[in-house]
Structures are given as structure tokens and as C-alpha cells.
């Protein structure tokens, strides 16, 4: 027997190297043989009946393969699909409900031909009255977008939407504890304020891109999808194909943030491929992606009562969410907003109602912390307004109401697993360390990730000691491959460089719910940890027949198995056990809600918490605001990949900065007027704070491997209210509508000036 050998070093972070050399293949880089190209004709009107759709001339154009329209939908197994409500046709049938809705898809030999054919399609509309705001959508005489509400239970998230028949309301969700009305009678102070948060774009730099190919009855789809098994399920229903015959492959994804979660353009592209009889590729432009989904805008009214010491007695909230033309995952957004508007505070009496409504605008969808930034914007702005009115320091007001670790935000939810007071202290310290004294504004947040604990993985230990991990967790830039590699390396005591993480592929890889809601580190982390443990048990059992020893005298070492100071490479273990110099061991695991050793019965599995502290500077002549210092604090349990975790928080904070200062998808007369990358402003490199710092708290107390909690969403939450609170503190102006544009700031400064004189 040999001594321990050095581990091989062949696959060192191959995925990262591919990303810096241009070798990484993204969905938009996929090309397959015989592929044709699709371009989409989109509705130019917000709400109308299609009275004529004539594709004769366009079809006659040389190089046009086929044109998909609503007429082709009759042959589908299921014409309308959705995640909570089956409300969306694969392509518009008879009616359009928003500007940008696909009405025809031209498939041609080249993109240029497809583009040219779009101009030859004749379409006439009979205009219908439209609503482009949530307030208009719930007015008594509002046009109703959908005649029927076909709600489906437990389809993607658990639960069912509660639409209101005959109205545009597709979800109503309430939280009620104690007696808010009675509490208000005893209150010393009652504050009522309304805050708004506009619909904003995901603006992932890689637009949606899908290639679909049939081979006989087998369908293969390459998509930059965050939830490959959800895509598979919806396609199975819509096209009447067995799940086993549908293969979803997900290459690298150029940013998702929720905008590529659940299902997006896949049914449309598959329908085109089916009609064309050959593979079809559709890559949207960034402008088209902006017409595909967005964050739900919100109007939130808070009614908060306190006693004279500043203890909150009750909170009533109404949340009205603009869900766009199709519900998508909007019902879950509404439910989460209702939880997330409470804050990490001890409030005995709550009365919260969230409504999500259809409007003739781009469909709303999940976006990093669903409903969170909207809810936290309202709650944390109001905390400062109350503090100001009562003459209490804003941090002190929060401290008087914060729940301790272990406190219950709602008794139906898992107790809080972080110490927000301590996080505030660390934020204070960190911002002082940046120089120029204390923060001008802070905000805190605690959100309950909507995680379904359902996901499997395989860990294959090959004969030469190289290892393949098969998981459907999608690399959208969150660093999941690095995390999974670390977890497997640790469990099997192998060099991380010997471990490859395969691309998600539903034909070879077990079910996973999807990549989102900060779940992959915990759920997929546990799945690969369990699968690695299973592999380890099998290898040690094999080895015990080879060595003269019981499995517990044996241990895995890099490249093989050791017994005392004897070492046997995997190859020799397999050789002796299998009688041939080949074979492999497959470890497998499926994490389910009843996983041994886990307490998955109560939601959330962990709390995603955040504190943001900042200072701002305003050019009072023109109203532009810059953030001069920013600190974010997150309790992540354990950072498996520390610089990656820090990067997640920083990236989230800068998205929050965009939401705070620039971003708003604008509608005028039902037309999205800035849904292009030229007109829509996201943060650029010059916009970020010159002095910034991220604090990660690691107590090893999370449910994931090594005590990790999920993370990556929290950092977006406190940014906007922290900035608005700093603006109020430094300049004496309070703005309740996002974004904090120069015009709004300038007008508020002028008004303040008038008040002062």
C-alpha cells in the first residue's frame, strides 16, 4: 500500500476561468444545427381586441420559415398557463393586455429576415379602455382585464391565490393579530403616512434567451432559467409532453435577480419550434426583456400607534401592488410584502392587508427579495418620521421596539434568529471607521425567505478521484458552484480542485425547486452534503472489504482512503472491490420538508436580516444626491465563500441604490416610455459611495452546511429608507415617493425654503 499522494489539480475553478477568458457559454451563446431565428411582434397598444392579424405578405418573404400567432394555440394541451393563475396565453389570442405583449413570432433563416418580416405583418386593433395604475385598476368602473380567475393550488409556491371575482384583484392576503382598533384607542400617538415604490426593471445584462429543439417527441430547451424544473413542468402541461421527455439545460446565466425565475418566454419559443419543425432560437433585446417582467410597484399606507414612551402598540397597513397584465408570481409577492412590512419589531396588534391587481402594464414578477424593498421602504421611512415627530432619536426608537433574538414577529413564523440591536451597533461602528462621524440615516429589515425545502443532488466519485456534482442550482453569478464545491470538498475531505459542478440538466440531475429566495446555499448545500455523505459511506464500506478493518477505522483523505498511515487511491479501492480497474460511487440525496435532523416545519428556515447606514450629500442647486458613505450589515450564519458573500451584499446594496435614486418604469397613457437601456438609468460605476463597507456576522447558527444561512437578498432592503432618512436628517426634507430624483429633491428643498420664510 502506498503513502498519501498529493491531490490532482486539474479543474481549478474552471467556471471562473471561463468567465474571465470569454470561454463561458451563456444561454445567448447557444447555437444548434439547423437552428432558425425568431423575432417577436409586440403589441403597441395597452388593451385591445385584435380584429385582424394578416401574416400573408410576411410569410411570403424569402427566408421566412413560419409565423406563430394566436391561431396556432388551439392545438395545445393547455392554452393558458401561470404559476398561481392560468391567466397567460402562450401568445396573444384575440386580445392584448399590455404594450409589449407578444402577438406574432416570426421564424426565419436569419435574424435580419425575421426582423424585416415583422414590418410586413398587418394588425388592426379595436381599442379597449385600459388601466395603467393600480389605483385605476380598483376603481369601481375600471375595465376588467381577465374575465375568469383560474387559480391553481400549490403549483409552484405552496398556497393558492385569492382573487376577487369580477375585479382586477388577483390576490388578497391578510395578517391579523390582536386588536389594532382597540390598541389605537389607548394610544398616545397615531401616525398615518403613505409611501410609494414604483415598478422597476431587473435589467440583467443578459436578456432572456431560449433555444428549443424537438427530436421526435423529445424536447430539449436551453434557457437562462433560474427554475429549470418549473419550466419543465409548465412545458409538460402546455404541450402535453411527459416530463421525462423534456430536457432543460441551463448554461451560465448573465444575471437573473428573479427576472428569469419561474417561467418566462420558454413556452413561446417551444411553440415556435414545434410549428417550425426545427430548432428555434429567440434572444430578446434588453429592451424586450424590460417588456417581459419587472418588480411590482406598491402604494403602502401605514397607520401606527404608540404609547407615550415610544412603544409601538399597533400597526395597520394596506399594501396595493401593481401586478401588471399577468399574475406570474405576484400573489407570493403580495403575501411576502404583508409579512415584510412588519419589521423586526415587537408589535402585539397587527392588521395588514395586501392586494395585488392586474393593470395594462408589463407583468410583475419576483425580484430580489419579493415584496421586501417595497415594504421596508414604507416601514423604515415611517420609523424615522415617528421618531422625528416624537423627539426621540431614530435608533433609540427602534431599540425600544426591536425584538430580541428568539422573539416572534408573528407567532406562525420561526422566531428571529439574529440580534438586530447588535447589528445596528456594528453598523454604527463600521461607519465611524470610515471617518466623519456617525451615520445620518439607518434602516433595518428582517424578511422571511419563501423557501421550499425540496431539492436533490448526486455526487459521483469517479475512478481517478475526480468528482462530479450534479445539481440543478443555477449559476446566476451568486457563486453557487464555489459554495457547493467547498461543501463537497469538506464532507469528502478532497481537494476542491478535483471537484466539478455540472451544468443544470433535468435529464441527468434530480429535481430541485429552483434558484431564488436565497435558498441554494441552504437547500442545495444540504443536498450535496447529504449526497457526499452517502458517497463517503459507500466508499468506506467498499474499502472495509479491502483493508482488514471496520469502516470506522477508515477515513477519506485526498485522492483515496486511509487506514492508519496506509493509503489506497480510489482507483485501487474500486479495482479490488469491483474486480476491474473501473467503476464509480454515486452518492445521492433528496432534501425534503421531513429531512432528518432538520427543523423545516416552520417557515422561514432562517431570517434574512439587514442593517444599512449611510450619509448623503446633496447639491442643493440642482437636487442631485450622492451617497458619501455606506455600510451594510448581514447575519449570514457562516460565509462559505467570504468574498463571494460580500460581493452579494455589495451588489444587492447597489441595486438598492438604483431603486432609491434612479429607477422607475414610467407609463404615460399606457405606454412604457423609458423601457429601453438608453432611457432607463441603473447605477453606473460613478454612482457608488466612495467609502463603503460590508460587515458579515457569522455565528454558525444557520440551518445550512457549516451553519450557513441563505443570503444575497438582504442587502437590497435598507438602502432606500436609509438614504431617505439621511436626507431628512441632513436637509430637513422628507420624500415618500421613490425614486429620490433630483427634481423631487429640488422641489422639496424649495418647499422647505418657503416654509422657513
Amino acid at each position: 500500500m502506498r503513502k498519501e499522494s498529493p491531490p490532482d489539480n486539474n479543474t481549478a475553478r474552471a467556471d471562473l476561468i471561463d468567465k474571465v477568458t470569454g470561454g463561458a457559454v451563456y444561454a445567448s451563446d447557444i447555437r444548434v444545427p439547423r437552428m432558425a431565428h425568431g423575432r417577436i411582434l409586440r403589441s403597441a397598444v395597452p388593451h385591445a381586441r385584435i380584429t385582424r392579424l394578416d401574416v400573408t405578405e410576411a410569410s411570403a418573404l424569402d427566408g421566412v420559415v413560419t409565423i406563430l400567432t394566436g391561431e396556432d394555440m388551439a392545438t395545445l394541451a393547455q392554452i393558458h398557463w401561470g404559476l398561481f393563475l392560468n391567466d397567460r396565453p402562450v401568445i396573444a389570442i384575440d386580445k392584448v393586455r399590455y404594450v409589449g405583449e407578444p402577438v406574432a413570432l416570426v421564424v426565419a433563416e436569419t435574424l435580419e429576415i425575421a426582423e424585416a418580416a415583422l414590418d410586413l405583418i398587418d394588425i388592426d386593433y379595436e381599442h379597449l379602455p385600459f388601466v395603467d395604475t393600480a389605483a385605476a385598476a380598483i376603481a369601481p368602473d375600471a375595465p376588467v382585464l381577465h374575465d375568469v380567475h383560474d387559480a391553481i393550488a400549490d403549483f409552484y409556491f405552496t398556497g393558492q391565490a385569492k382573487p376577487v371575482a369580477g375585479t382586477n384583484i388577483f390576490q388578497k392576503f391578510g395578517v391579523s393579530t390582536g386588536d389594532a382598533t382597540a390598541a389605537e384607542c389607548d394610544a398616545a400617538h397615531i401616525f398615518e403616512h403613505t409611501y410609494t415604490f414604483p415598478g422597476v426593471s431587473h435589467f440583467a445584462l443578459e436578456p432572456h434567451s431560449v433555444v428549443a429543439a424537438f427530436e421526435g417527441d423529445d424536447l430539449t430547451v436551453w434557457s437562462g432559467a433560474q427554475s429549470p424544473t418549473a419550466v419543465q413542468k409548465v412545458l409538460s402541461r402546455v404541450f402535453g409532453i411527459a416530463v421525462a421527455n423534456i430536457r432543460i439545460i441551463v448554461p451560465f446565466v448573465g444575471g437573473g435577480f428573479g427576472g428569469k425565475a419561474s417561467v418566462k418566454i420558454e413556452p413561446l419559443v417551444v411553440a415556435a419550434a414545434r410549428k417550425a419543425g426545427r430548432p428555434v432560437r429567440v434572444t430578446l433585446t434588453l429592451a424586450e426583456s424590460m417588456l417581459t417582467c419587472r418588480r411590482l410597484g406598491a402604494t403602502m399606507t401605514l397607520h401606527t400607534s404608540l404609547d407615550k414612551t415610544g412603544k409601538i402598540l399597533s400597526k395597520r397597513a394596506t399594501i396595493l401592488l401593481d401586478g401588471g397584465a399577468y399574475a406570474d408570481t405576484g400573489p407570493a409577492v403580495a403575501a411576502k410584502a404583508a409579512h415584510r412590512i412588519i419589521g423586526p419589531y415587537d408589535i402585539a396588534n397587527l392588521e395588514i392587508e395586501a392586494k395585488a391587481v392586474y393593470t395594462n402594464t408589463v407583468p410583475g414578477a419576483a425580484f430580489r427579495s419579493i415584496g421586501g424593498p417595497q415594504a421596508v421602504w414604507a416601514t423604515e421611512s415611517q420609523m424615522d418620521e415617528i421618531a422625528d415627530a416624537m423627539g426621540i432619536d431614530p435608533v433609540e426608537l427602534r431599540r425600544r421596539n426591536l425584538l430580541p433574538r428568539g422573539g416572534e414577529i408573528l407567532d406562525t413564523l420561526r422566531p428571529l434568529d439574529a440580534d438586530i440591536g447588535d447589528m445596528i451597533g456594528r453598523a454604527d461602528q463600521a461607519i465611524m471607521n470610515l471617518g466623519d462621524g456617525a451615520a445620518a440615516g439607518i434602516a433595518v429589515a428582517a424578511t422571511d425567505p419563501g423557501i421550499l425545502p425540496l431539492g436533490g443532488a448526486l455526487v459521483r466519485v469517479l475512478v481517478d478521484g475526480s468528482i462530479i456534482v450534479m445539481s440543478n442550482s443555477v449559476d446566476i453569478g451568486q457563486g453557487v458552484r464555489t459554495v457547493l464545491r467547498e461543501v463537497v470538498a469538506k464532507m469528502l475531505n478532497q481537494n476542491p480542485n478535483s471537484i466539478q459542478i455540472a451544468n443544470p440538466d433535468t435529464s441527468t440531475t434530480p429535481f430541485d425547486w429552483g434558484t431564488g429566495a436565497s435558498r441554494s446555499t441552504v437547500i442545495m448545500g444540504l443536498a450535496v452534503e447529504d449526497a457526499a455523505r452517502d458517497a463517503s459511506d459507500q466508499i468506506l464500506a467498499l474499502a472495509s472489504s479491502v483493508f482488514d478493518g471496520a469502516p470506522n477505522d477508515l477515513r477519506l483523505v485526498p485522492g483515496g482512503v486511509a487506514h492508519g498511515d496506509e493509503f489506497l487511491p480510489f482507483q485501487d479501492v474500486y479495482h479490488r472491490a469491483f474486480g476491474v480497474d473501473s467503476g464509480e460511487v454515486v452518492g445521492r440525496a433528496m432534501v425534503t420538508p421531513t429531512r432528518d435532523g432538520s427543523d423545516f416545519k416552520k417557515s422561514p428556515l432562517f431570517w434574512e436580516t439587514a442593517v444599512g447606514a449611510c450619509d448623503v450629500d446633496v447639491d442643493q442647486e440642482i437636487g442631485t444626491l450622492s451617497v458619501t458613505r455606506y455600510v451594510g450589515v448581514a447575519d449570514v450564519g457562516h460565509a462559505i465563500n467570504p468574498s463571494g458573500a460580500e460581493g452579494q451584499e455589495e451588489g444587492a446594496a447597489v441595486q438598492g441604490l438604483g431603486h432609491a435614486l434612479f429607477e422607475r418604469l414610467d407609463y404615460v397613457d399606457g405606454q412604457p416610455v423609458n423601457a429601453t437601456p438608453i432611457a432607463y438609468r441603473v447605477p453606473a460605476i460613478g454612482d457608488i459611495a466612495k467609502r463603503a463597507h460590508t460587515v458579515l456576522i457569522e455565528n454558525g447558527d444557520g440551518p445550512g452546511p457549516m451553519g450557513a444561512k441563505g443570503m444575497g437578498e438582504g442587502g437590497i432592503l435598507p438602502v432606500a429608507p436609509a438614504i431617505a432618512n439621511a436626507l431628512a436628517r441632513r436637509y430637513g426634507i422628507r420624500i415618500r415617493d421613490l425614486p429620490l430624483t433630483p427634481e423631487r429633491i429640488w422641489r422639496a428643498l424649495r418647499k422647505r425654503g418657503d416654509d422657513a420664510t
Binding site: R13, V20, T21, E112, G254, G477, G644, G647, E650, A684
Partner: protein, 158 residues
């Protein structure tokens, strides 16, 4: 319509290709030459994901026509590493988590390299100005700035 025959140099190698008049240099690189490392984000000059250099000058390849490459020398991300040896910027970006999804990364690397070739001692403000045409929706930029400044310092002391 007849296609144009273009002779150019790409990453140091002579390359000839046929293209339509309206095809951008980015389309040619990605669709005709299989060089998909340059990415298409906005296709309108706003994101920098398609950054390449033409005769050493940093451009958005989505705003350059393929035919304009005639007689010029184009450098793309595929030519940045020297064989197996990564350029120091590539090395630093992956070490320091200056990339997440990586779709913006080729553009940032090409732009940063072009900055350091002109100015090996940039201030943070100069880095911010030079990279102002490159958008990243993932990282929050700070690690990108740090990486560029660190590489500049390393290269000066080397």
C-alpha cells in the same frame, strides 16, 4: 445583396470574413467567427459588454460595422490571456470576486486593460471615469475598482 469581403487582424491573427453591410462588428465576432466572449447587453452603446479595441482604441463593437474593420486590428477578450497564463487583470478579477454572473466581465477586462496601457498609475477617480461606459448589475462595482487599482500597483512594482 453581395456580402462584403473583409480582411482584418483579430487577436494578432490575420482573419478574413464575409459580412452584410448592416452587420455590426459584434455580430460578426459572435455569429460569423464564433468569438462569443464579447457579449451583447444593450446593443445600443450603453453597457460596454461588447467592448473590444480597434487599433488599440476602446470601442463598443455593437456600434461599429463589420465592414469598418477592414484593414484594422481588433483585440477581443479571447486574446487577453497569453496561452494558459491569465492576464493579471483576469487573475485579480477572479481572485477578488470582481465578477459574479460574468456577462459584463469581458467588457470590463478589455476596458481596464486599455486604461492600464495608457495610464499605469490611475487614481480611483480616473478608474471610475474610464469604466463609466461599462455597466454591471451584479457586483456593485467596488471590487472591480479595487482589482484594477491593485493590478496597476502590482504592474508598477513588477
Amino acid at each position: 445583396m453581395a456580402k462584403h469581403h473583409i480582411s482584418t487582424t483579430i487577436n494578432g491573427e490575420p482573419v478574413e470574413f464575409l459580412c452584410e453591410t448592416q452587420q455590426t462588428l459584434l455580430d460578426v465576432l459572435r455569429d460569423e467567427l464564433g468569438l462569443t466572449g464579447s457579449k451583447e447587453g444593450c446593443a445600443s452603446g450603453d453597457c460596454g459588454a461588447c467592448s473590444v479595441t480597434v487599433d488599440g482604441r476602446l470601442v463598443c463593437s455593437c456600434l461599429v460595422l463589420g465592414v469598418e474593420a477592414e484593414g484594422h486590428s481588433v483585440e477581443t477578450i479571447e486574446g487577453m490571456a497569453d496561452g494558459e497564463n491569465l492576464h493579471p487583470l483576469q487573475q485579480k478579477f477572479l481572485e477578488e470576486a470582481a465578477l459574479q454572473c460574468g456577462i459584463c466581465t469581458p467588457g470590463f477586462l478589455i476596458a481596464a486593460k486599455s486604461l492600464l496601457e495608457k495610464n499605469n498609475n490611475p487614481t480611483e477617480t480616473e478608474v471610475r471615469y474610464w469604466l463609466a461606459g461599462n455597466l454591471c448589475r451584479c457586483t456593485g462595482y467596488d471590487k472591480i475598482i479595487r482589482s484594477v487599482l491593485d493590478v496597476a500597483a502590482d504592474m508598477r512594482s513588477a
